[in-house]
């Protein structure tokens, strides 16, 4: 079983690599949609780990995405000279740089996840929804007020003057002095995006089919029973939450290095809701369902561009209709979890 999924994982990596070679010939508009599909799959699958598999309810996924996104683009611009000097500007140098900022973004999000998660996950009840909701808003407001990353103007790069001054906007009195503008580098491509799609699918798949993963499912099934068996329910909830936050951070890094511009409003409450909708629509705890929902909800707005202001209303209607007709999720088939 393990061997089979490892093989599948490796062959999908090769496939991703090969497709990436032809990515240049894909229509740019389609290419963009495909990348966003990948990013949304990562976001939805990682939230599913929290909300679906351990039965928690996190409402702040956009906050973790923001941390990963902003931290990484700040690193890859402010430290651009350092990275370029150390690793060079070739394909490999850029790959190493990107791996570093990816890990930095993911790790930062995971650490913050630990800080936010531990206090609320120790308590019984739905404190997590409230805490994460508040947390994501705080993150957004903090970013809005941080001039080094562009504050409410958004961030697309940094001017580095030859006297060492660094600023995301042109500095008036230094206008005469020569500077170099380091824009957010376009590191994200098909390969990196779908590499992480493959990693998170592989990770979650193996997790839920392991002894450790049965711990997750048991926590969701019945917390009291799990505790009666000596299962440390807090540990499971925290580890699901932290790894979910990690991948949300990764999604943020990918988004930042594709869009090349981040604005605090990209990570508002509606973004978190959008990810929650994907998970609910796909059927909590159903990996395939959630992936399909992520794909559909990425494509859907493209068709609804003319009425895009009503997108949230449409989501709300979709959810209400679904709760009434298919409470188990649009794709009510559970992932075929391998029985022992």
């Amino acid at each position: 079983m393990q061997v089979k999924s490892k093989l599948l994982f490796l062959s999908s990596l090769i496939l991703i690599f090969v497709i990436n070679l032809f990515a240049g010939s894909i229509d740019p508009y389609f290419y963009t949609v495909i990348i966003y599909i990948g990013i949304n799959i990562i976001l939805a699958t990682s939230l599913n780990l929290i909300n679906g598999y351990t039965g928690q309810f996190s409402l702040g996924h956009a906050g973790f995405m923001a941390i990963g996104g902003y931290l990484s683009i700040a690193l890859s611009t402010y430290f651009a000279p350092f990275f370029q000097n150390t690793f060079g500007t070739g394909v490999f140098g850029e790959a190493i740089t990107f791996i570093i900022v990816l890990l930095a973004g993911g790790t930062a999000a995971a650490l913050v996840g630990l800080l936010v998660g531990v206090p609320s996950l120790r308590l019984k009840g739905d404190y997590l929804a409230i805490t994460t909701l508040g947390f994501a808003e705080i993150i957004r407001v903090v970013i809005q007020n941080m001039d080094v990353i562009g504050a409410s103007q958004g961030f697309r790069g940094v001017y580095i003057y030859n006297n060492g001054v660094k600023a995301p906007q042109m500095v008036q009195d230094l206008g005469e002095m020569s500077n170099i503008f380091y824009a957010v580098p376009k590191f994200t491509n098909f390969f990196w995006t779908f590499l992480f799609v493959a990693i998170i699918i592989y990770y979650v798949h193996n997790l839920i089919n392991s002894t450790y993963g049965r711990g997750f499912l048991s926590v969701k099934d019945d917390e009291i029973a799990a505790e009666s068996m000596g299962i440390n329910t807090t540990k499971f909830k925290v580890s699901a939450f932290v790894s979910g936050a990690f991948f949300a951070g990764i999604a943020g890094v990918l988004y930042g290095h594709f869009n090349l511009y981040l604005n605090p409003e990209d990570f508002n409450f509606l973004k978190s809701v959008e990810i929650v909708v994907m998970v609910i629509l796909g059927g909590m705890g159903s990996m395939i369902g959630v992936i399909i929902a992520a794909v559909l909800l990425t494509i859907l707005p493209e068709f609804l561009r003319s009425v895009s202001e009503y997108r949230m209303i449409i989501y709300a209607l979709l959810l209400i209709i679904m709760m009434l007709t298919r409470p188990q999720g649009l794709f009510g088939f559970k992932i075929k979890r391998k029985k022992l």
């Binding site: 499912l217 019945d222 009291i224 505790e227 068996m229």
Partner: protein
């Protein structure tokens, strides 16, 4: 020996347990009987560390286990089959049993114990791949007890194993419990509303009423007690 001294449990302003004392000697079957809301489940959950106590102490073989983490208590050899057959409905029978052995490291021993509980409840073996949630009530009860046994406990806490099960099956399950006690010497603390049944299998009994122990004694003597007969045996 499992020993409870002056135990107190509060839920906010509700004082569910108000200073009870209880002893469960090694190898015995002790029963704690009482009507709805008396505080039986609360007591068991406190022993398992699932809820925090407000006062008093719980010791096992002289070691203080009050408010220890549930994981530690299971590892020390105290495990419970919770009230209402709280099994994992999305896991198979076998997976449920393996979750019972979650804190154990000895793979071989777990395998042997799996065979042991199957020999004890052959019905479970027939349903090994079935999801827990699809078992009948009686089968779920067998599973809940077996799952607790998979942790290889020295003390087994049973919370109302007769709840919502057909009388005939209740009889079978109770016979198994007694047989288990005789054959392995496992210590059992049995919580029951069905006082008649509980007192017929136990060595010693405690009667709990609104958070206090109002009576205690040898099981056969309690069964003859006027007060008990009136209040719990419907006479």
């Amino acid at each position: 020996m499992l020993e409870i001294k002056d135990l107190q449990i509060h839920y906010g302003s509700i004082k569910a347990i108000r200073g009870i004392n209880l002893k469960v000697p090694d190898g015995s079957i002790v029963t704690l009987i009482g009507s709805n809301g008396a505080g039986k489940t609360s007591t068991l959950r406190a022993i398992s560390g699932i809820i925090k106590t407000a006062g008093g102490s719980i010791t096992y073989n002289g070691e203080n286990i009050t408010n220890l983490h549930p994981e530690k208590i299971v590892k020390m050899g105290i495990c419970q089959s919770p009230e209402g057959r709280l099994i994992f409905s999305n896991l198979t029978v076998e997976e449920n049993l393996l979750m019972g052995a979650y804190t154990r490291k000895d793979k071989e021993g777990v395998k042997d114990d799996l065979e042991f509980v199957f020999s004890f409840f052959p019905r479970l073996k027939e349903r090994i791949k079935q999801l827990g949630g699809t078992l009948s009530g009686g089968e779920q009860q067998m599973l809940a007890i077996s799952r607790a046994l998979m942790s290889k406990p020295k003390v087994l806490l049973l919370d109302e194993p007769s709840l919502g099960i057909a009388p005939l099956l209740v009889k079978t399950i109770f016979e198994k419990i007694v047989a288990l006690n005789h054959s392995t010497g496992i210590t059992i603390l049995l919580v029951e509303q069905n006082a008649n049944l509980a007192l017929s299998v136990a060595n010693y009994g405690y009667v709990l009423e609104t958070g206090e122990i109002i009576l205690e004694g040898k099981a056969d003597e309690l069964a003859k007690n006027e007060e008990v007969r009136k209040a719990y045996l419907g006479e």
